[in-house]
């Protein structure tokens, strides 16, 4: 065996448990070749060092975050499957489930039972109509003000939620409308 062959087949020697190779020829070469002996030592020592340095520690809140993610992912998926309702409702339900479920998940937490609380019935009524912040006239050239922004229904009550949560709302408030963000 020469040095080139030793390098090319080195893994057969290092992973002897994985190969059907007899180590004799490798060992004979190592006995007679200081360069390849050094190579083998460097690999062994380097790997030993790499193993001895522990990686980053698991963050303290790792399990809490994981519990949160699992509840969230599971409930959103379940809600979507069930009735195809909007992601907003699913997220709200997920948040409620997290509040209810935190601490009750057995595998990680030590709390094994959750108290049962009788709550009074909830009656809901329609929310008050909020004042809608009308967009101010855009202080920019007309070609940068898309025509659909003037559509009368866009700012109507039924679109309040959409409007207030869209990029348009914030950009108008800042008075720095450049693009609509809708493509």
């Amino acid at each position: 065996m020469n040095c080139q062959e030793f390098l090319e087949r080195y893994s057969e020697f290092r992973d002897i448990d994985e190969a059907d190779t007899e180590p004799d020829s490798f060992e004979a070469h190592l006995d007679s070749c200081p360069a390849c002996r050094r190579y083998h030592e460097v690999v062994e020592r380097g790997v030993e060092l790499a193993r001895s340095f522990s990686g980053p520690p698991i963050r303290e809140d790792f399990e809490d975050r994981l519990r949160h993610h699992i509840y969230h992912a599971d409930l959103v998926a379940h809600t979507r499957r069930r009735d195809g309702s909007s992601p907003l409702i699913a997220v709200a339900l997920a948040a409620a489930a997290i509040l209810a479920g935190v601490g009750a998940w057995g595998p990680i937490s030590t709390i094994t039972t959750a108290p049962t609380v009788d709550l009074p019935g909830i009656s809901a009524s329609a929310p008050q109509v909020r004042t809608i912040l009308e967009p101010q006239p855009v202080q920019q050239s007309p070609e940068r003000s898309p025509a659909f922004l003037n559509h009368s229904n866009l700012w109507s009550e039924s679109n309040t939620l959409l409007y207030e949560h869209s990029n348009l709302y914030h950009r108008y408030r800042d008075g720095t409308l450049i693009r609509t963000g809708l493509h």
């Binding site: 390098l7 080195y10 030592e41 990686g55 509840y71 998940w105 990680i108």
Partner: protein
């Protein structure tokens, strides 16, 4: 799914302490079966068994502590949601490493969306696969204090300098102790590819680390 499991758990069919001890004494496949049977605590046992190991593996692969934590979180979320699809004739550890490995690979792929970065990565991979294997022990040896101070950095750096497809097999074999077959499954390659990449990865690693090693 949740309601059923939570109810079962909340009733505390078995006291928590005993359950934990019992779970800790089981093999992976039995813990998986417990979870599938509705024992939620079994998932906690899997998390305890694999969180640090996966974090090490993913961190070594992507080289970013914070992202590694996120990717390990995502791995467990996927395990939780898809465990019922896991083929129980296979090893659970291989399956969970495959999920983590795929997430790590996606992370690296997303980083190389820039065409220039992508080109450099392809070139680096090509060079690493085709460069003749060589070994020349350089005479340079830093003094002891310097060496001690920088050893950890150098070792980490040596692993990070390996091209992605060499790094992942190197980490799985040398730092995680996986078999060739497991590595082939985790990286979705064949045994021959695993062997050749591993040999080249070791050669590269040795050349980088040599000046620091007595």
């Amino acid at each position: 799914m949740f309601a059923e499991k939570k109810t079962h758990d909340a009733f505390g069919v078995i006291p928590a302490g005993d359950t934990r001890k019992e779970l800790a004494s089981l093999g992976d496949s039995e813990v998986v079966q417990k979870f599938l049977d509705g024992e939620e605590r079994a998932f906690g046992e899997l998390v305890r068994r694999y969180d640090s190991r996966l974090l090490n593996f993913v961190y070594r692969t992507v080289g970013d502590r914070e992202r590694a934590q996120d990717l390990v979180q995502e791995t467990f979320v996927r395990v939780y949601r898809h465990l019922h699809r896991f083929d129980q004739s296979k090893k659970f550890s291989t399956w969970i490493y495959t999920i983590a490995g795929n997430l790590a690979k996606n992370e690296l792929r997303n980083r190389s969306r820039n065409p220039l970065v992508l080109f450099q990565a392809i070139k680096k991979n090509w060079d690493a696969d085709h460069r003749p294997l060589e070994w020349e022990d350089e005479a340079y040896k830093p003094d002891d204090l310097f060496r001690k101070r920088h050893l950890k950095e150098k070792v980490d750096e040596a692993v990070q300098q390996l091209p992605e497809h060499h790094r992942i097999v190197f980490v799985l074999r040398e730092l995680e102790g996986r078999t060739y077959e497991e590595i082939a499954e985790i990286t979705d390659t064949n045994l021959g590819t695993v062997k050749s990449r591993l040999n080249r990865a070791r050669n590269n690693f040795a050349r980088i680390i040599a000046p620091m090693v007595d």
